[in-house]
Amino acid sequence: MTALLEAQDLTAGYGAAPVLHDIDLAVPAQKIVAVLGANGAGKTTLLRTLSGLIRPTRGRVLLDGADLRATRVEQMVHRGIAHVPEGRGVVTELTVDENLRLGGLWRRDKADTKRALDEVYELFEPLARRRRSPGHQLSGGERQMLALGRALVGRPRLLLLDEPSLGLAPRVTAQIMALLRTLRDDTGLTVLLVEQNVRSALSVADEGVVMSLGRIAARSDAATLRADDELRHAYLGF
């Protein structure tokens, strides 16, 4: 399987202290890969490094084989990478519609951007009813829909999704996971999913990567991870 995204020997962190150590990772195209691990394992730092918010001190990130080291974070969306950060990243001072339009401002194809916007409103009906509501008036579930929808307006090839279940009811989390599966199957979207809710993530993922203390401790297909009692007890806590 061809890897859409690859991290090779990636070391990165904040200031002088590295958080990630020698990460090698391949995310196959049109698959959902879950990154699992305890708090402080480096999952969020990994996503921030892959999307360019943090510059690696060593190693490189490749998208379709092209080195992204020289690509500025603002250019990542042009390469097809959408990053929905932890906490969802909704601009709470802007309305729902403004947040969604923001997701497509960089695109030249305005007609398709408009189509994508309409599709997002169809996909997330609650957002359509609250187009003019400011982000700070939305519930946690609505904010997650908005963050996801805003990423989809850019028609990404790769979605980096950080803790989408955080603070959400199990029913809403299940809906979001089902949506990821649909997007993968229907649009060929590739997803790198950082998630503490291991059961939920493995229910939708094709592969799983377990991180511990900034290193990759294990990787396997999701079914194997679910069945590996020793690994689950050691790293995933269930």
């Binding site: 918010l53 990542m76 950060p85 601009v91 001072e93 802007l94 923001l102 997701g103 960089w106 603070g167």
Partner: protein, 292 residues
């Protein structure tokens, strides 16, 4: 009654200038979380440039255009050359650098133009029309209202109807998220400073003909009143800046007119204290966001 009407129009005219200047402060606060204490000095510098061109060419409007363009350039330069490199870990750092800029700009202006007042001509008559025996507004007052209203409308259109305005707002509120969405946050910040400085330059060109004239420190008092207006309205609220400006203008006019000009600065400070005690975020501060 005649006096009250006159003072009201006079206060609104002056308040319109404070509103424009407060708007400039709010623009930078929203973009960079810095109160630009150098705004007055920067505005005076561009007004000097404008009036120099006017004196050389005999055209007020050419000088006016130079002052506004100078504001755009100076604002962009201050952001790109100075403010971008200020350590943002403490909000005081930006304030200290801005105060340093005030000293530098005023010293340089003093060296170039001297420290005596120079006349600043008005493009229209400042003699008030009389309607029913009551002196109301002058042509210059109408010009001030029209200029400030135009700027407010243009800024509202820019921020609410254009992609650049949406990018600027997003960059100000959520820089990291905006970068992930392809917004060049640094460029938006530069544009914000440029626009704010141009609005400040406009305010200077509108207020200096009504003051003693051009002087390196000529905008200091205007800055104090406008800063009060911005805080009263809420530093995050452009609407608050405009209404705060008009409120401060009216207050100064009434207090000067009825109690004497020497009491006016105290009235502004009392207004500031009352608002800060009652509503610290300003009259138009937004309510807190929901958390779930």
């Amino acid at each position: 009654m005649d006096r009250f009407v006159f003072l009201t129009f006079d206060g609104l005219s002056r308040g319109a200038v404070y509103a424009a200047f407060a708007l400039a402060l709010v623009l930078i606060w929203r973009a960079a979380r810095i109160v630009n204490f150098a705004q007055g000095a920067m505005a005076v510098a561009t007004a000097y440039a404008g009036y120099s061109v006017s004196a050389a060419t005999g055209s007020y409007w050419l000088g006016f255009a130079v002052a506004i363009a100078g504001g755009l350039l100076l604002g962009a330069a201050v952001e790109r050359v100075v403010m971008r490199f200020v350590d943002q870990s403490s909000p005081l750092n930006g304030v200290v650098v801005a105060l340093g800029l005030v000293l530098v700009i005023q010293a340089v202006l003093g060296m170039i133009y001297g420290n005596e007042y120079r006349p600043a001509a008005a493009p229209f008559s400042r003699d008030a029309f009389e309607i029913g025996g009551i002196a109301l507004l002058s042509r210059f007052d109408l010009y001030v209202f029209a200029a400030v209203a135009s700027v407010v409308v243009l800024l509202v259109l820019l921020f609410t109807r254009t992609a650049v305005g949406l990018r600027m707002r997003a960059a100000a509120f959520a820089p990291d998220v905006s970068r992930l969405l392809g917004v060049h946050v640094g460029g938006m910040l530069t544009l914000g400073w440029a626009l704010a400085a141009a609005v400040g330059s406009l305010a200077a060109m509108l207020v200096l003909p009504t003051e003693l004239g051009l002087h390196p420190t000529a905008m200091d008092i205007v800055f104090v009143s406008s800063f009060t207006a911005a805080v009263v309205g809420g530093l995050d609220s452009p609407v608050g800046a405009v209404i705060g400006g008009l409120l401060v203008g009216l207050l100064l006019s009434y207090v000067s007119g009825y109690l004497g000009a020497t009491v006016a600065p105290m009235a502004v400070l009392i207004l500031l204290v009352v608002v800060l005690l009652g509503r610290p975020g300003g009259l138009f501060a937004k309510s807190a966001a929901r958390t779930a």
